[in-house]
């Protein structure tokens, strides 16, 4: 199967997972969940790395890549940490 088709398979199947994964979320977790999803969307960093690290990438591409890496990693680090701080606010379940 050509790569594009594989990508399509993977994409379609992932959409279903995306559809189901967060149903039933506790309302109090809406905001942390948004923060986490935000952090995860920092996955573009992988793209940024690929662009930047490509051997023989032109310098303009490298500059683009550098900024992309910078921005994406701010998001990644900031995102997970913020999520963590939000979750820390949640009192420990004293019971159960």
């Amino acid at each position: 199967m050509p790569d594009t088709l594989v990508a399509l398979y993977v994409f379609v199947l992932s959409c279903f997972i995306g559809y189901w994964v967060i149903w039933g979320v506790t309302p109090a977790l809406h905001t942390p969940l948004v923060a986490l999803t935000n952090a995860i969307s920092g996955i573009v960093i992988v793209g940024a790395l690929l662009v930047t690290g490509l051997e023989g990438a032109g310098s303009s591409a490298e500059i683009m890549g550098f900024f992309a890496v910078l921005l994406a990693s701010i998001n990644v680090f900031g995102g997970f940490l913020v999520t963590n701080r939000m979750l820390a606010m949640f009192k420990k379940d004293k019971k159960k």
Binding site: V21, S41, G53, F67, I74, L81
Partner: protein, 466 residues
């Protein structure tokens, strides 16, 4: 050590699975922290696998970028105040959008240099750029509104939707043109217009809806990542992008539902209805600076509380919510929450009004306390649940000599950690006096008929979902 592409693929798969677990984990408080760690692990694995893969050869810029990003991100995240979290998320978000645009352009440059351009690829690139650009400016506007840099009020004018649609079509057209011809001008103009759309889409939306909008923008950024994945032939980006894209959309929907709003209205800022027919209670409350909350929010605080004090009033009688209250009490007690009923001497419309109804619902007398007995307990209560009462908890009775209820002793509900009012509207009680307690920091209003609301709480306490 360099990873073989197969090993990398497996690492990517594991990373994707970790992200799925991360999202699932965040749906329940018990697993939320673990979920976040899964997410971190997934991200670390993804980055490591990418760096160790064959494609990444030069590390200078990368190390600089990641290091700088890590420092900035960490500082931002640690320094920000709890109340400014939403802004921060919006700001971080704009970075992802911009990064997506940069990645797409960088890819274009690389592919052009390698002479690997083709229409499909350029189409995918355009998609990545457009979505990324919208995410970027949209998030910037959201940030501005939340931070108070831009007025939180919706900016509306007639023909707005038409204008947006036109710009949108034009942008798409340019994208298609670029994909077919590789015309750089089209690319530039398309990017520019996409930035504009981000602004025009978000500017008409009110500040109160920003959380939903951020989740929606999140979804966009997921799609942008997926588009990038297609261009780069990277399955991890596709999987994670699609999951983030879809789940973000669903989350926006769920959030709207919890606030009893239509997602269409929120996303297309005041598309139709809201203006007509008289504003909803929630909207009125928002205008007056009163927080409204969903049933689940109140339940969230009650289910793990040590003590919940319920203050019934005339509204409980009107709604005939006493039986539902009994059931809620039992469910809370089963979770070892101490539940008490605080009865104000003039609650309701006749002496002993609340007592008759609570007795009818067979609520044990031991749980029913009069004002003098319970007032000292509010300070140790986690939640004060005001069920259709109003005047009897109004601090104006103590503080405002001009109010007709001045001098009446009140139930000190405001001293509880959280106060939830269950009522149908912003209307005052019998005395016609505005309730000052509404405006207190720890107070939220849950709008709706008290019986329906309590029944909703019962359902939530029994725990739907899986």
């Amino acid at each position: 050590m360099e990873l073989s592409s197969n090993t990398q693929a497996i690492a990517y798969l594991v990373s994707a699975v970790l992200f799925i677990f991360a999202l699932k984990g965040l749906t329940h408080p018990a697993s939320a922290r673990k979920g976040n760690y899964y997410g971190m692990a997934g991200m670390a694995l993804a980055i490591a696998a990418t760096l160790m893969g064959a494609e990444v050869q030069s590390y200078g810029f990368i190390i600089a970028g990641v290091a700088a990003g890590a420092v900035i991100g960490t500082i931002l995240a640690m320094r920000v105040e709890m109340t400014a979290m939403p802004q921060l998320v919006a700001a971080l978000h704009s970075f992802v959008g911009l990064a997506a645009v940069l990645v797409a352009i960088g890819t274009y440059l690389n592919k052009a240099a390698a002479g690997q351009l083709n229409p499909v690829l350029m189409g995918e690139l355009s998609a990545g750029i457009i979505i990324g650009a919208i995410t970027f400016t949209g998030s910037v506007i959201a940030f501005g509104k939340l931070q108070g840099l831009i007025s939180g009020a919706p900016v509306k004018f007639s023909g707005q939707h038409l204008l947006n649609a036109l710009i949108g079509l034009l942008t798409l057209g340019l994208g298609v043109h670029f994909a077919m011809t590789g015309n750089m001008a089209s690319l530039a103009l398309m990017t520019l217009l996409a930035f504009v759309i981000g602004v025009t889409l978000i500017i008409p939306i009110g500040g109160a809806d920003m959380p939903v909008i951020i989740s929606m923008l999140n979804s966009y950024s997921g799609w942008a990542a997926a588009a990038t994945g297609f261009t780069l032939g990277n399955n991890l980006l596709i999987i994670v992008g699609a999951i983030v894209g879809f789940s973000g959309a669903i989350l926006s929907y769920i959030m709207c539902r919890a606030m009893n709003r239509s997602i269409i209205n929120v996303v297309f800022g005041g598309f139709g209805s809201d203006a007509g027919a008289g504003e909803s209670a929630g909207a009125q409350a928002a205008e007056k600076g009163v927080k409204s909350a969903a049933v689940e929010d109140a339940v969230y605080w009650m289910e793990d509380a040590n003590k919940v004090i319920i203050i019934p009033g005339y509204g409980m009688a009107v709604a005939q919510a006493q039986h539902a209250l009994k059931e809620m009490m039992e469910l809370l007690e089963a979770r070892e929450v101490e539940v008490k009923f605080a009865i104000h001497p003039v609650a309701g419309r006749m002496p002993g009004h609340m007592n008759v109804l609570l007795a009818e619902a067979d609520i044990p007398y031991d749980n029913v306390l009069e004002m003098d007995e319970i007032n000292s307990e509010f300070a140790t209560a986690d939640v004060a649940l005001v069920v259709g009462a109003n005047d009897v908890v109004n601090p104006a009775a103590k503080s405002d000599p001009s109010s007709p209820i001045y001098g009446m002793p009140i139930l000190e509900a405001g001293k509880a950690r959280q106060v939830y009012f269950l009522k149908r509207s912003m209307r005052p009680g019998y005395s016609g006096v505005n309730n000052l307690l509404f405006y207190q920091e720890n107070t939220s209003l849950v709008f709706g008929d008290a019986k329906d609301t309590i029944e909703g709480m019962v359902t939530a306490l029994k725990g739907g979902g899986h």
